[in-house]
């Protein structure tokens, strides 16, 4: 439960969620190819960044740096 209050977990959660939305939109939307590409790549990058932050929140117990 304490992990939910870790800032890295919150930031990770935010970017993972926004990433999933962008990735999903890139598959569902009927936009031009360029729009699909940028949303898809940004979605993937956001998800990777978000998961990395969540992973870090479960590491470094007791350490702050």
């Amino acid at each position: 439960m304490e992990k939910l209050f870790d800032l890295r977990f919150i930031i990770g959660g935010f970017f993972a969620l926004v990433g999933v939305i962008l990735l999903g939109y890139s598959f569902l939307g009927n936009s031009a190819i360029d729009s699909v590409t940028i949303n898809r790549w940004c979605g993937i990058v956001f998800i990777v960044f978000g998961l990395l932050m969540i992973f870090l929140s479960f590491q470094n117990n007791g350490k702050d740096e």
Partner: protein
């Protein structure tokens, strides 16, 4: 700019997270110290990112992009000359005094080093400055949202103010700092794709070099004279006015940023906060200035990238970033970009409000109105001050809407207040002979000298309300020179009065003056924990960047 439901969804998610952080931290806030000082318990990586994020407000994100389009690479001086050195100086030399003295605010340090009147003068001017700054941020946000998204001015004002109010009132400074870190990542990750798309469309760096006037692609070329570079500033004014006075005055004495380092867990972390922050800071031009330069290349290659005119008929450079968002971002990532823009405004506003409530509660209320109340009492005062601060900000935003020129006036007053302050601190920390009377009258006369210089000089049609004895090439040059003169006057008056008044006893100044304080050896063996090594690395980084973009 036409937002789709997905864009609004991302904005709503951001608002929910921001408020959620406030609710999450609410249970940890029990005393005034928790609310206003985060109980000095924040980890280094958070304080470092909050340190630069507190400065990453609307002026930074929109203003630097606008300056990038107006002055080109010369704008990078605000980072490589106007930030790096001062951040190193703060971390290595000044932070031991701030943190070691146990002062809770910059004005409180002034009280310990000098006296109550110097503290009160600084606390009052700082409190007024921050709350009006917050209002200007709010006004700018609402105006921009109205112009680019067609949102109602009143709704934008009250919605943003309410969200900032909720998360600060619930979680205090910790909530503001946590949100600043989230906002930092959002601004960087939300604008980085714009830089990539813009560069790609412009034909990469090669395309930029072919399509942008060469005079805007350097940082030092033509700096020998104010007339031979787009910024209208000569090298001396730049180095002394920006690199020394303005930069050190802001980064080393403005409580808004210094507060982020003062809430670190220990002295070593407090010293490393500005140094760690300096690494991303010197790279920020890639996110905030480069888009403006990319826009210049796109204007030369394509149609439809022309900037609109403002009410005075001049090119409105502040629209550079919104224009790029509109032209280059499709729905989806557009929501992220607009959210990043909103985040920058809210970050600036929250930073000002948290600094305001700390200074008001500790340096004005506790010092002059109610000295010995309980911690619980100061918690309520801090919360009440937050509400009042936000309401005054909202009022300022409405006043600025009706009297547009008040924004220029307020910005100007801020420069009068900040410019001489570094002289007071510099002398106070490094010259034991500096007296309280000298410091107080030095500050007052430095501030008056700044106002007088503005009244006697003109630049871009501004200033000269007393007489017209000199005209500067640009407003930037005028600002640097005003800062320089204010510093010199404050410095000289402080020295002269100190020489004829009685200084404090040496034993009262231990821990407050460099020469009277035992030197602490930093036992950190690892390079990344050693402030000196970190400072050297930042210096090398700045040197390399200055050489590359000479």
């Amino acid at each position: 700019m036409n937002l789709q439901p997905i864009d609004y969804l991302i904005i709503v998610i951001y608002f929910l997270f921001v408020i959620g952080i406030g609710f999450m931290l609410k249970r940890k806030i029990k005393t005034g110290n928790d609310f206003l000082m985060s109980n000095r318990s924040i980890p280094l990586w958070i304080t470092s990112l909050a340190f630069i994020s507190a400065n990453l407000g609307a002026q930074e994100v929109l203003g630097m992009c606008a300056s990038g389009a107006k002055y080109g690479m010369y704008t990078a001086h605000f980072y490589w000359i106007g930030a790096g050195f001062a951040m190193i100086f703060l971390g290595i030399y000044m932070m031991p005094f701030y943190y070691g003295s146990k002062a809770r605010s910059v004005p409180e340090f002034l009280k310990l080093r000098f006296d109550e009147r110097t503290r009160t003068f600084n606390a009052l001017s700082f409190a007024v400055m921050t709350v009006f700054s917050s209002g200007i941020s709010l006004y700018a946000l609402a105006s921009l949202m109205h112009i680019i998204l067609g949102w109602n001015f009143n709704v934008s004002i009250w919605l943003s103010a309410s969200i900032v109010l909720i998360y600060i009132t619930l979680g205090g400074l910790t909530s503001a700092v946590y949100n600043e870190v989230l906002q930092f990542f959002l601004i960087v990750l939300g604008i980085a794709p714009l830089v990539y798309l813009g560069m790609q469309k412009a034909g990469g760096w090669e395309g930029i070099m072919q399509n942008v006037n060469d005079a805007k692609l350097h940082v030092w070329k033509g700096m020998g004279s104010a007339s031979t570079n787009p910024m209208g500033v000569d090298a001396f004014s730049l180095i002394f006015g920006l690199g020394f006075v303005q930069s050190f005055g802001y980064w080393c004495t403005d409580f808004l940023v210094v507060q982020r380092a003062m809430i670190s867990k220990n002295l070593n972390a407090a010293r490393r906060t500005p140094l760690m922050a300096a690494f991303p800071k010197i790279l920020m031009p890639a996110i905030v200035i480069l888009p403006g330069i990319v826009l210049l290349a796109l204007q030369n290659k394509f149609t439809g990238f022309e900037l609109p005119k403002n009410v005075n008929g001049a090119v409105d450079y502040n629209m550079a970033l919104p224009l790029l968002l509109q032209k280059l971002y499709p729905s989806g990532i557009l929501g992220v970009g607009v959210t990043a823009l909103i985040a920058s405004f809210m970050s600036g506003m929250a930073g000002n409000v948290t600094a305001f409530n700390t200074v008001w509660t500790f340096d004005i209320y506790q010092s002059h109105i109610n000295k010995n109340a309980s911690e619980k009492h100061y918690l309520y005062v801090g919360k009440a001050t937050t509400v009042i601060g936000i309401l005054v900000s909202v009022m300022t935003a409405y006043v600025a809407r009706n009297f547009n020129s008040i924004m220029d006036l307020l910005q100007l007053v801020f420069s009068f207040v900040n410019a001489p302050l570094f002289a007071t601190f510099f002398l106070g920390m490094f010259w034991k002979r500096t007296t309280s009377t000298g410091a107080f009258w030095g500050l007052v006369s430095g501030t008056l000298a700044a106002a007088l210089t503005y009244g006697l000089t003109v630049a871009e049609g501004k200033g000269g309300w007393l007489a017209h004895i000199h005209e500067f090439y640009s407003g930037t040059s005028q600002a640097f020179n005003i800062a320089g003169i204010a510093f010199i006057v404050c410095f000289l008056v402080t020295v002269i009065i100190s020489l004829v008044t009685k200084p404090k006893q040496h034993n009262e100044l231990i821990g407050l003056v460099y020469s009277l304080t035992p030197k602490q050896k930093d036992s950190a063996k690892v390079w990344y924990k050693n402030p000196i090594w970190l400072g050297v690395m930042v210096l090398v980084g700045m040197l390399i960047l200055n050489i590359i973009f000479y």
